[in-house]
Symmetry: C2
Subunit: 488 residues, 2 copies
């Protein structure tokens, strides 16, 4: 499985124990986009959720001055019509319209509606595509869903994916920041699920570069949805929430004040720890500790790695088996009678609000217990993905880079509970389901082990020589370091 | 769907809004057992877990003096061989032997091995049965499993179920106590999944009566496994654990001492509340409160009924869809590398041990907050089962009677964590999965509502006129009230 291109330079890089083909992005490549999109006159972005506004605007900006028209398609009477108009798409010049009409007239339709909406409307969506045209997704969910229901995709269209490894707002913001720092952006994976002509790969690459990816790697839609659904249930949302709940409770039990306990957990993860990992990798966290703190880190790491890995393995298997996708579909059927409530009204998150309100630019201490558990979780998450043979680009982006460079900075600003309450339905369901499991396994297994100093595992021994450190170093060299700007 | 019998008296009773056929048990019916088991010379109990020892001994005692031989079949080299010998089964007289050999020579083989073992060995088990013989289960799991894998059962054998609505040790203990109080025992459901002759129903009834059921009702194996797997994930194990975790934490947060918080939650549920429900029904709990406490109960009930019902509905759907059974199968494949840890080493359960050690026969206060939430959970569990059209006998037994008359008294003695750590794999997995969800939904939704006095729901309005009260009254009249004796 290799990226091939006559248009963009393809690099072979060593990542972990594999060689991968990647394409480095950047604004200097935008003049090659018309060649990459050969045969495409109209690209339509369908949906205006998280990725929709980001990709539609980035594509339009990148293709400015070419003959390729970038449009937005929405449900008739969609409440997002006004927002799309405010972003400059409009019915008058034909860049805004009803979604099925837009799909029917486009050469590339990029479907960015919610998973649930795909599950409800897939037949009409696929039937609307012109023969010979291309349909694109930013998530492999649809393939997992089709596997579940046994749906066969028609064979006269290209089916591709371009999946930014960060939330929509980050995709847009870093693209804008990229006007000053060329190459700033969110990395993406591409996948060619079905190719009916030689253009499919070029379209996927052009799409990734136009959206602003610093580097593009290859996966399959099957591997993408597994790692993506697994990732959001784990470190990106579920695990980070559960880890904070467990350690916060423990800190309170041993007499730490609530505000300090919040600083020692949520604040340090979304702030200092993320920043260190982003700039110096996982070892950077460990190296920033003094000797006594290093001991605490090692104990916490050893006590938590194995129980966390057990939950992570369970999550991966539940995703792989189709159970998680079935659960999402079941929820969509019952949501009218049992809508999800918010999680943000608990004691922990109220303390969090107070802490954020009082922030004055101070740098939080690096709590070694929290750091040990959080880093153990990232490594365990990586180890499961290695077992299931994901490529290292996907592993590093889905388990670490997306967390520290996209979600955590956003959560640092708005709060973790806010993020959990406002992400996609698939992710919200997953976070609700798995956060408590991470909390309980830490409370039941890891914390008693730390307390009693009865640590049975020596997982930390494998940390120093872990393949992931070099992988992160390489990934870091592939994109400029930019502190993402976060605004409301 | 009706019970029919020429041997035992069949009663029609009104339960809820339905009429059901039931058979009342008792020792006075034991002399009819040879007639019920017409054509059966040998009954083999396969497995020596929770139900195995209870049913094998009860059947042997009940059939004492008849020509029917009751045997036990185990894996060659099973570690339980010694225990079965200690209970009087032995190779010398042919009442103990290798399981497949036992199945092959039996007219009725009762398969009481773990779900996981059934999932692994089902082909050999079913292939070993003599043509024309009968295979029996005490759980519908196997049918859910077969639905999952698409396995077709051979059509030359009877397939029946007799499912005691209580754990094995209770089935044995109440049977022994029943020697003094005729009719004491654990209620059972029966199901005829496949009948190749007219005897199937009589065999199921005979089996139920021989094991000591005070009353026997009819269900299907499909409905049985749904209600059973749902029930153990809910009030029987998962919900009771999660409810206690949430309220305990809340009580600590508002300044209650840990010991008192444990008494206000776990102790009151497994002790006073269970006792009141067992003797006086759900209304008995409410009536035992003073006016001020009644207000707290109503607030707690109203704040928690809807969020609890949301989780309960999710559980039911996950069971119904096959997801939960698939999860159990997935666990069986990974258990060697990721065995389940114990839950009993946390602060909460350590406090519990201390509280139990200090018990001196005192009657705990009836905490109205805990009572309101616990009773709301039972009613919500009942309401979901009514929606899915289970018969009221099954609803009452699976949601209430099994809890207050079998599991809770046992947990009162040994601790809830002990129970969760020592039940069947299917149940342990379910309790681990769902207890944290009950905890989180209460912490995130119900407790903030109670605290802020912003209760949006008026679920309690339906409590007074609920059908379940009459159903419980009727069920109570069908079996003598016996305080189950609990020994280690």
């Amino acid at each position: 499985m290799k990226i091939t291109s006559n248009i963009f330079e393809v690099d072979e890089i060593k990542l972990g124990n594999n060689t991968e083909t990647i394409v480095k992005g950047g604004r200097h490549l935008f003049d090659k986009l018309p060649e990459a999109f050969l045969g495409i006159q109209q690209i339509s972005i369908i949906g205006w959720g998280s990725q929709g506004p980001a990709q539609a605007q980035n594509l339009r900006d990148s293709l400015d001055g070419t003959d390729i028209k970038v449009c937005v398609g929405l449900r008739a009477n969609s409440s997002s019509l006004e927002k799309a108009r405010a972003a400059g798409f409009n019915e008058a010049d034909g860049t805004l319209g009803e979604m099925y009409a837009m799909i029917a007239e486009s050469d590339l339709s990029i479907i960015l509606i919610a998973d649930a909406a795909i599950a409800e409307n897939y037949e009409r969506i696929f039937n609307s595509v012109k023969p010979g045209a291309t349909i694109g997704f930013s998530h492999g969910f649809v393939i997992g869903f089709f596997k579940n229901i046994g749906y066969q995709i028609r064979d006269d269209i290209n089916v591709i994916a371009m999946c930014p490894k960060g939330m929509g707002p980050s995709v847009r913001r870093l693209y804008v920041q990229g006007k000053e720092v060329d190459g700033a952006g969110i990395n993406s994976s591409i996948a060619i699920h079905q190719a009916i002509n030689d253009h499919a790969m070029a379209y996927a690459l052009g799409w990734a570069i136009a959206v602003g990816s610093p580097f593009v790697f290859l996966t399959t839609m099957e591997m993408e949805y597994r790692s993506d659904i697994y990732g959001e249930r784990s470190i990106l949302l579920g695990a980070v929430h559960g880890i904070i709940e467990a350690i916060f409770k423990y800190k309170i039990d041993i007499g730490v004040s609530p505000e300090q306990a919040f600083k020692d957990t949520a604040e340090t993860i979304t702030g200092r720890i993320s920043n260190l990992i982003s700039k110096h990798g996982l070892k950077g966290v460990f190296e920033a500790l003094d000797e006594k703190q290093k001991e605490i880190f090692i104990t916490a790491y050893n006590a938590s790695y194995t129980p966390l890995k057990d939950i992570l393995r369970e999550i991966y298997e539940e995703v792989y088996s189709g159970n998680e996708i079935r659960s999402v579909i079941l929820y969509n059927e019952r949501k009218k009678i049992a809508p999800m409530g918010k999680i943000d009204d608990t004691y922990l998150w109220h303390i969090g609000e107070q802490v954020r309100d009082k922030r004055q630019g101070e740098v939080n201490d690096l709590d070694p217990l929290t750091a040990g558990i959080y880093v153990a979780c990232m490594v365990a998450q990586v180890d499961i993905l290695i077992e299931y043979e994901h490529v290292f680009s996907e592993i590093a982006n889905e388990s670490i880079i997306e967390a520290v460079d996209s979600l955590n900075p956003y959560m640092h600003h708005k709060g973790i509970a806010y993020m959990v309450d406002n992400c996609s339905t698939t992710a919200r369901l997953g976070a609700r389901k798995w956060a408590p499991r991470f909390d309980y396994i830490l409370t039941q297994i890891a914390i008693p082990a730390i307390e009693s100093k009865q640590i049975k595992h020596e997982a930390f021994k494998a940390f120093d020589q872990h393949l992931i450190h070099d992988v992160l170093d390489t990934c870091r060299q592939l994109r400029p370091s930019v502190d993402i700007s976060i605004k409301d």
